[in-house]
């Protein structure tokens, strides 16, 4: 009787152990979102990095042009969540390949995919952390930050590592490249200006708060917000602060600049229109949602489009911040919307529909992808 009791206890403890191990995530399963999807628009095509693959859709009708990989069940290339960079020949994307054993590690890969055929040309897998935002391409070099704290510069044609620069924390921001200088923020609270040629530091600016957004450069001034609830205008040559204004919370996404006005949003949902020269607030509008993404602006500069964590896309009049329309959908709009003429495209995190095209004048839906079958 005692033996059977001991056996029963052992079985129970083993079951408990299996449950614990399963819950702690060491048993494989479907990839889950740890970030937001990536979205890019070039020449009538949408490039969507949405977990399972990198997909190219026709912008007019959402017809699939190609996807990488084509067969996700038999050709697992990992989880795609990084905004693709589209060049003349390639689409530069990044993914996280799942680990294959208990003690193995995930592999983090930058892919160069042929823009016409959707076949991979080269890959780079030396980084040891997740890629969160996409890279930037200039002068035959791809520059991309990684959660392992490094900024990597790769040869566009071969994927060969040209240089890497170590920061003090994760690099979740996409870089900006201008005139041979890479401007990139790090979670180590610094914004770095690096030489595109060899990665040496030209200047760095310590804000006292992490940088996760991409700066915008206009007339020699860099505009960027930080996690210390402050928005900055910096001299692009020296990193000197020209002006700064406080927000109510972190500035995660970057700003958008049109004419002499800088538009930025903090994560509390405060949208600011600032005078580019002085930083004076022209108007401020508070949305009923958190905001992560960089706002977008219509081509004529009259409408500001802001994605909300509550699934809404807000269209604000650029002149005074007045709400022109609000489109509500299931999921979260954490990725920067893209504008092409009279259409705005959004990609959703956790939504049934992943990509939607809306008329910019009134927010009316043109199409939603994937199409839902009627039950």
């Amino acid at each position: 009787m005692k033996e059977s009791l001991v056996r029963r206890q052992t079985v129970l403890l083993t079951l408990l152990l299996i449950i614990v191990v399963s819950l702690s995530g060491c048993v494989g399963g479907a990839p889950r979102a740890t970030s937001w999807p990536g979205l890019a628009f070039v020449a009538d095509k949408l490039y969507v990095a949405d977990i399972a693959n990198l997909q190219v859709l026709g912008a007019e009708d959402a017809n699939s042009v190609w996807s990488f990989p084509t067969d996700t069940k038999n050709d697992n290339r990992g989880t795609f969540q990084v905004t693709p960079v589209v060049t003349d020949e390639y689409v530069i994307a990044a993914s996280e390949m799942p680990r294959t054993g208990f003690f193995s590690q995930p592999t983090y890969v930058v892919w160069a995919v042929d823009r016409e055929t959707g076949r991979d040309v080269w890959s780079f897998s030396e980084a040891s952390g997740t890629y969160v935002e996409g890279g930037a391409v200039s002068d035959g070099t791809v520059v991309i930050g990684n959660s392992d704290g490094y900024v990597y510069a790769l040869d566009l044609e071969s994927g060969a590592l040209q240089w890497k620069f170590e920061t003090g924390h994760r690099v979740w921001a996409s870089p900006l490249i201008d005139s041979g200088v890479v401007f990139v923020g790090s979670m180590d609270r610094h914004l770095y200006a690096l030489s595109l040629a060899d990665g040496h530091v030209i200047w760095d600016f310590n804000a006292g708060g992490a940088f996760a957004g991409t700066p915008v450069l206009q007339d020699g001034i860099l505009f960027i917000g930080a996690f210390n609830d402050t928005f900055y205008a910096l001299d692009a040559d020296t990193g000197q602060v020209q002006w700064s204004i406080p927000g109510e919370n972190w500035f995660w996404g970057g700003p958008v600049v049109h004419d002499d006005t800088v538009y930025a949003a903090d994560v509390n949902g405060n949208v600011y229109a600032l005078d580019a020269a002085s930083g004076a607030i022209i108007w401020q509008q508070t949305l009923d949602s958190q905001v992560r993404a960089t706002p977008a602006i219509s081509e004529d500069g009259t409408l500001l489009l802001v994605g909300g964590e509550n699934g809404s896309l807000y269209a604000l009049a650029a002149e005074d911040g007045f709400t022109v329309w609000v489109d509500e959908s299931e999921g979260q709009v954490l990725t920067t919307p893209v504008v092409d003429g009279s259409v705005v495209y959004e990609v959703l995190t956790y939504g049934t529909y992943r990509v939607r095209a809306l008329r910019i004048e009134n927010g009316r839906e043109i199409w939603a992808y994937p199409p839902q079958t009627e039950s």
Binding site: K2, L16, S24, T130, R170, R189, A212, R292
Partner: protein, 258 residues
């Protein structure tokens, strides 16, 4: 699910980080000491209850033999024994049930402050108590410790990061061994059922914690190691909490009418 605990803990971690020279390991260590201090009455109660149940074990086994064929009567007699000795078989579980959400909450707090994924840190962005002094701009906390990333599970190429789960196992095992009551014997020299169960727990619990820490952020390993060290220190510094301390005053035999 445990975010209602995680948000205050994460903010407390931010304050400690700011006050303690912006050192993440020191901040987690001090937070662990504070949590253990708050949970001390529960811990002592759990140990006391466990000790009381252990003391009643010989009597319970006698009852099991005596009423082996009458389950209903056995249950009645067991309840009577518990009542007469002021013992409650569930009392040892309650403190553990209260501690579990705090562990999960602390895990979430570490994930919020040393984030490995953007969605985690974005979730926390709306829950920072801005009125607390010095918390502005602190997230994410410095995540590097001895070349390891405190926000990530142990892994290569930092092979030495696997030392933390091993340390969690070693300290958990030692702590379990110290706080487990001495094994009662059945009279025939064989270990009692409770003793065998206790022996299994001494291995299985540390193994479980080691599996946890192999999968979770290494920052949580710091919490487990410091927690275990506190319990081990408590064993040596507070003799009253030792399992054998009350063995001399077993009331079971006095009160039980078998």
């Amino acid at each position: 699910m445990f975010n209602f605990i995680a948000y205050p803990l994460a903010n407390l971690l931010l304050v400690l980080y700011n006050l303690l020279g912006q050192n993440t390991v020191v901040a987690i260590t001090v937070l662990t000491v504070l949590i253990n201090a708050v949970l001390l009455p529960l811990t002592l109660r759990q140990q006391k209850s466990s000790r009381r149940m252990q003391e009643l074990q010989p009597e319970l086994e006698k009852l099991q033999k005596k009423y082996a064929k009458d389950k209903e009567r056995l249950a009645q007699e067991q309840m009577k024994l518990y009542k007469e000795n002021g013992a409650n078989p569930m009392a040892g579980c309650l403190p553990l049930l209260i501690q579990m959400p705090i562990w999960f909450g602390l895990y979430r707090a570490i994930i919020f402050c040393i984030p490995s994924t953007p969605l985690d840190v974005f979730q926390f962005s709306g829950h920072i108590y801005k009125w607390l002094p010095g918390v502005q701009g602190l997230v994410p906390l410095q995540s590097s410790f001895l070349g390891m990333d405190l926000g990530m599970p142990p892994g290569m190429p930092q092979w030495w990061s696997y030392a933390l789960p091993v340390l969690v196992f070693a300290t958990s095992w030692l702590q379990q061994k110290l706080i487990s009551p001495p094994q009662a014997s059945t009279g025939s020299g064989e270990p009692s059922q409770a003793g065998m169960m206790s022996q299994q727990m001494q291995i299985m619990m540390p193994l479980m914690f080691m599996f946890f820490t192999l999968q979770w952020a290494t920052g949580l390993s710091i919490y487990f190691i410091v927690s275990n060290a506190i319990r081990i220190g408590q064993y040596y510094l507070v003799p009253a909490t030792r399992p054998g301390a009350a063995q001399t005053a077993t009331p079971a035999a006095r009160n039980t009418k078998s």
